[in-house]
Amino acid sequence: MAKHLVKLNVNGKDHALTVESTERLLDVLRERLNLKGVKEGCGTGDCGVCTVIIDGRLVNSCLVPAVQARNKRIVTIEGVGSREKLHPVQKAMMKYNAAQCGFCIPAVVLAGKNLLDHNPAPSRQEIKEAISGVLCRCTGYYKLIEAIKEAAEARGIKG
């Protein structure tokens, strides 16, 4: 199997890694960079829990060979907010008790954050569409949508 030297910028930090042709970005993030907030659900692009943001777009990291992410900017949940300063979406999700089992939550937060990065005042329908690639089997989505809506409004007030 051919090996390739790739540079990835993950959560603002550059990494140079040697990867195999078929190595998934999901595995590189989880196993090589120890970013366990990236979850594996189905591994076939159906559930979206392995969502990351690549160059401002949502992607299922199970569907991306790591070589294809070469020289790109990747954001995982570890790169969103901090314990001291949560991202508005994270803050609103806590307020609404929007997480139950929590397995899909990193992906939902990333989908919500990415939406607000591109569209600061989304409609309820736009929020539904933005998170539609992530399956949640606990919440029924209602609180997730409410939380992202509130995060948008909170950000709007702060200007």
């Binding site: 949502l58 992607v59 569409e129 539609s132 690639g133 399956l135």
Partner: protein
Amino acid sequence: MDLSGLSELRYIKQEEGKVRIGALTTIADLEEQKNNTVWGGVLNDVTAKFGSPNIRTVATVGGNICSAASSEDLIPVFLTLDAKVRAIRKSAAREMALREFLVAKRKTALHSGEILAEVSFSEPSARAASAFQKLGMRNTLIISFVSVATFLEADEARSKIKCARIALNRLSGKIPQRAEGVERELLGQNLDEQTINKSSELLGNELSLTSDTRASADYRCEAAKVLLRRALVQCHDRIIGK
């Protein structure tokens, strides 16, 4: 082999009455082209229902076409736009109708060493309209029970049908196909509700669908008729400017 870095195969061009889309154009690229043309409208219909935003980032036009299966939403749309595909290899290129490119389920006319480079079609006239309808268990991340694409062109008075193309994700085989019987019946007919309802009934004669884990043949057949009617109504409304 990874083709994803070939940015020269990632484009949407409109020139000299032709629309050309590079095989590596992503579904997200199509989604963003937001133009008000006949073809732009139907591509908006299909991209909104395609996979999920996450999938649309990486899925490509070429990938969808080369998968050659009834689950590929772009194929019926391109069939109704009477699209051609361009296959290239090291020293040569050839063009053929998309209908001929799709040989069987998961089988295309590509030779070894050849790749799909482009899909193209003539820019539809201002008196034409195109639509896409899809039905599945949910809106996102779903393989449809049935999907229908339609293309209608009206005469100058916008009262009679001059050209009709209809494609379903399945008709009698396992790949998307044109419903030529219904197309012939529509030619020269009045562009009105009566014609649309009749064509929807006629579709039943051409369908030979099978049951599987997603839906029964009977349900698929009924759904196909309803979706055809909806898509034709959309075309009608778009043509008369409703």
